[in-house]
Amino acid sequence: MTSSKWIKTAVIAAGLGAMVAAAAAGAKPSETKGKYYMLKTCKPCHKAGSKDGEVTPLIHTQAQWKTYFEAGKHGKEELTKYLTKEQLLDLEAFLVAHASDSPQPMTCGG
C-alpha cells in the first residue's frame, strides 16, 4: 500500500509539472503546432482528392522536407506568404517527424 501511495504522489507531481511545462511554451519547434498549421493553413487546398494535390508528410522523406523548407518556396511564391518563419519551423518539425521514412501509425484503415 505504501508503494501505491508513493506512486500516486509521483503521478500528481508529474501531472502538475507537465502543466507548468506546457504553459511555458518551449523555444524548440513544436510538432503539434506544426500539425495544427498544416490542418488550418495547408489542408484547405491540399486534402485528399483536391485539385491542387494531396499534401501529407508522407509525400516526401525527411531529407526532402528539410530541403523543401531550406528553399522556402511554394511553387513561385514564398512559403512565408502562408505562415511566419517561426510557424514554418513548427510545420517543418511536424512534416519531418512523420515523413515517409519515419515510423508510421498502423491501423486497419491503412
Binding site: A14, G15, A18, M106
Partner: protein, 539 residues
C-alpha cells in the same frame, strides 16, 4: 520578325474596324484606341525579345558540367531501377529486455484430481509463498513492411521473433490465457527464434468515396492507448482494453467528414473468427470424443466463435492560448457469439489435467459453446502541447450464457452458466516528456472481479488490462540518441480474484477471492511485481 508580327496585328485589328465604321469621328476615336493598344503590344514584344536575347547571351555551361550531368544521369537511373524494383518498404525494431519478477501466492487449495472411489474432487492445502525470477532476458525483433500495390491498394505486414535467452524453445505457460500460445498471440509469447507473421493485410481505399476495406491478419494488437506507454505511433485499431490479439478478419471504414465531423473521423466495422470449430479446430469430425478429468467427453455440434464490432474514431485539434491540444475520442462495441470453454483449438503448451490429475496426453480441444457476450469500450487521449498526454479508457461487458459448462470442469461464462453477469474496468495514465531525452509516465488500471477482455496478445508475462484487481505502473524512458531508447519500468499487480483473463471459471467468481484460501486448478498470484529494463532501437 518584329515588324512582321506588328504588320499582321495591324491588319487583323483594322479589318473589322473598317467594316463597322459609321462616321469619321467614330473612326478617329477607334484609331486612337488602336494606337494605344498597339503601343502596349510593342512594349510587350520588346520585353519578350529582351528575354530571348538574354537567354541567348547566357554563359556557356562551365566546362565539365555536361559531363557531370550525364554522369549523374547514369547514377540516378541505377537508383531509379533499384527503388523501382524494391517492392516492399521495410522498417522495424529490435528490443533486448531484462525482467525481474516476484510472485506472491496467497494460501490456496490445489486441485489434485478425483477420488477413484467416490469421484469427489480432491484438494491439497498450499501455503502462501513467494516465487522469484531474477533473470529473465528476452530478445524481440520485428520487421515492418508495406507496399503500395497500386493507387488504391496497400499491403501492410509485420514479422516478429520473440525469444527468451536460454529458453528451451518451449513457450511459457503461467496460468494466464495470454500465455497460451496460439495464432492470436504467436508473436507475443516468447517462444523460439522463429519469425511469426504477426500482421499481413491489404487495405483498399476507394477513390471517390471516403471508404476503405481491409482484409487479412489485421492491425488489431497494441491498440490505443498502449502507444502512449510505448512512446510510439498508434499501433492498432481496436482499443487495447477491448481487443489485443492477432485477429484474422475484415474491417470496413467510412470517413464522416462530410457530415460536418472533424477531419479524420471514421466509423468502422470489423469481423473476425475467434474459434474455428471445423478443420484446424477441435473436432476431427462433427461428433467426436476427448479425455477430460471426468472421463470421456462427447463433443457435438460445435459452432465457430464469431466476433463483430463497431468502432467510432474521432480526432480533435484545437488551440488554447499558445498551446495546441490534440485528442482522440474512441467508442467501441463488440459482440462475441458462441464463445468456447477453452478459447482456442489446439493448445500446444497448455497442461490440461487428465484423469487422476495426469497430464492429458491427447489433443486438447474446446468442448462446448457457452454463450455470447457484449463488450463496450471508450477511450479519450488528450495531448496538451508537445510534451504532455493523459488518457482514460473504460470497458464494460455483459454475458449471455446458454446454460452450458465446459466438459473439462472449467464452468460456464464468467463462472455462471445460468445468469447474465457484468464486469467493468478502467485504465488511466499520464506521460510527460520532461526533457527531449527523458520521458516519465505513470498508469493505473482496475478490473472488477468478473472483468474479462480478449487480450491474449498483451506480450507480457501477466496481462495487465485483463487483471481482476489493481495494477500500477511507473516508467522512465531515456531517449539517449535518435531512435534508441532505454525503457525502465515497474508494474505492480494486486489481484482480487483468480482466473484473471479467462472468460470461464469453475464456479461463481465470488468463490475465487484470493484472500479466502480458494480452491484452484492452478496457482494464481495475489501480487506480482515486475521490474523491467529494455533497450530498444527503431529503424
Amino acid at each position: 520578325m518584329k515588324k512582321f508580327i506588328l504588320a499582321g496585328l495591324m491588319a487583323a485589328l483594322l479589318l473589322p474596324v473598317g467594316l463597322m465604321a459609321q462616321s469619321n469621328e467614330d473612326l478617329m476615336k477607334q484609331i486612337e484606341a488602336l494606337k494605344q493598344q498597339l503601343q502596349s503590344l510593342e512594349a510587350k514584344v520588346a520585353a519578350q525579345e529582351k528575354v530571348v536575347a538574354q537567354e541567348q547571351a547566357a554563359p556557356a555551361p562551365a566546362p565539365g558540367l555536361e559531363k557531370e550531368v550525364s554522369n549523374l544521369d547514369a547514377r540516378l537511373s541505377k537508383v531509379e531501377v533499384k527503388t523501382g524494383s524494391d517492392r516492399i518498404n521495410w522498417g522495424g525494431d529490435l528490443r533486448v529486455g531484462y525482467g525481474y519478477q516476484n510472485w506472491h501466492i496467497a494460501p490456496y487449495q490445489q486441485f489434485t484430481g478425483f477420488n477413484p472411489q467416490t469421484h469427489m474432487p480432491m484438494f491439497q492445502q498450499v501455503p502462501g509463498q513467494d516465487w522469484n525470477n531474477s533473470m529473465d532476458w528476452s530478445l524481440r525483433m520485428r520487421l515492418t513492411m508495406n507496399a503500395q500495390v497500386n493507387d488504391n491498394l496497400k499491403f501492410m505486414g509485420r514479422l516478429s521473433m520473440y525469444q527468451l535467452y536460454g529458453g528451451a524453445d518451449v513457450p511459457i505457460f503461467n496460468g494466464s490465457p495470454n500465455t497460451v500460445l496460439d495464432s492470436f498471440n504467436s508473436a507475443k509469447i516468447p517462444n523460439s527464434d522463429v519469425l511469426h507473421v504477426e500482421r499481413a493485410l491489404m487495405v483498399y481505399r476507394f477513390t471517390n468515396i471516403p471508404f476503405s476495406f481491409a482484409i487479412g491478419r489485421m492491425n488489431t494488437s497494441d491498440g490505443p492507448p498502449l502507444e502512449i506507454r510505448d512512446e510510439s505511433e498508434r499501433d492498432g485499431t481496436p482499443m487495447a482494453i477491448m481487443v489485443n490479439a492477432e485477429v484474422d478478419g475484415i474491417h470496413a471504414e467510412y470517413g464522416l467528414k462530410d457530415l460536418g465531423l472533424p477531419d479524420g473521423t471514421t466509423i468502422g466495422m470489423c469481423a473476425g473468427i475467434g474459434y474455428e470449430s471445423g478443420f484446424g479446430g477441435g473436432g476431427q469430425t462433427a461428433e467426436s470424443y476427448t479425455m477430460t478429468p471426468f472421463g470421456v467427453a462427447r463433443i457435438n455440434g460445435m459452432r465457430d466463435t464469431k466476433v463483430v464490432g463497431l468502432i467510432y474514431d474521432m480526432p480533435l485539434m484545437w488551440m488554447a492560448g499558445n498551446t495546441v491540444n490534440s485528442a482522440e475520442f474512441i467508442l467501441g462495441y463488440n459482440r462475441f457469439n458462441d464463445m468456447m470453454d477453452i478459447p482456442y483449438g489446439a493448445l500446444l503448451n497448455f497442461p490440461i489435467p487428465g484423469p487422476y490429475a495426469q497430464s492429458s496426453p491427447q489433443y486438447v480441444t474446446a468442448t462446448r459453446n457457452l454463450g455470447d457476450m457484449d463488450q463496450y469500450g471508450l477511450t479519450w487521449e488528450h495531448h496538451i502541447g508537445d510534451n504532455f498526454v493523459y488518457f482514460v479508457s473504460g470497458g464494460f461487458i455483459k454475458s449471455h450464457p446458454n446454460g452450458q459448462v465446459s466438459q473439462y470442469g472449467f464452468g460456464g461464462l464468467l463462472g455462471d452458466p445460468n445468469n447474465s453477469r457484468t464486469g467493468s474496468a478502467y485504465y488511466t495514465g499520464v506521460r510527460w516528456k520532461a526533457t527531449p531525452k527523458w520521458t516519465l509516465g505513470a498508469e493505473f488500471n482496475h478490473g472488477s472481479k468478473r472483468w474479462y477482455t480478449f487480450t491474449p496478445s498483451a506480450g507480457e508475462p501477466s496481462d495487465k488490462l485483463a487483471a481482476r484487481g489493481d495494477v500500477w505502473e511507473g516508467y522512465v524512458h531515456w531517449n539517449f540518441n535518435k531512435n534508441v531508447m532505454l525503457k525502465m519500468g515497474y508494474i505492480h499487480y494486486d489481484y482480487s480474484t483468480a482466473y484473471s483473463g479467462w472468460q470461464i471459471a469453475p464456479a461463481n467468481l465470488d468463490y475465487f477471492n484470493l484472500n479466502n484460501n480458494p480452491q484452484l486448478f492452478y496457482p494464481f498470484p495475489k501480487t506480482v511485481k515486475n521490474a523491467y529494463v529494455m533497450l530498444e532501437a527503431r529503424f
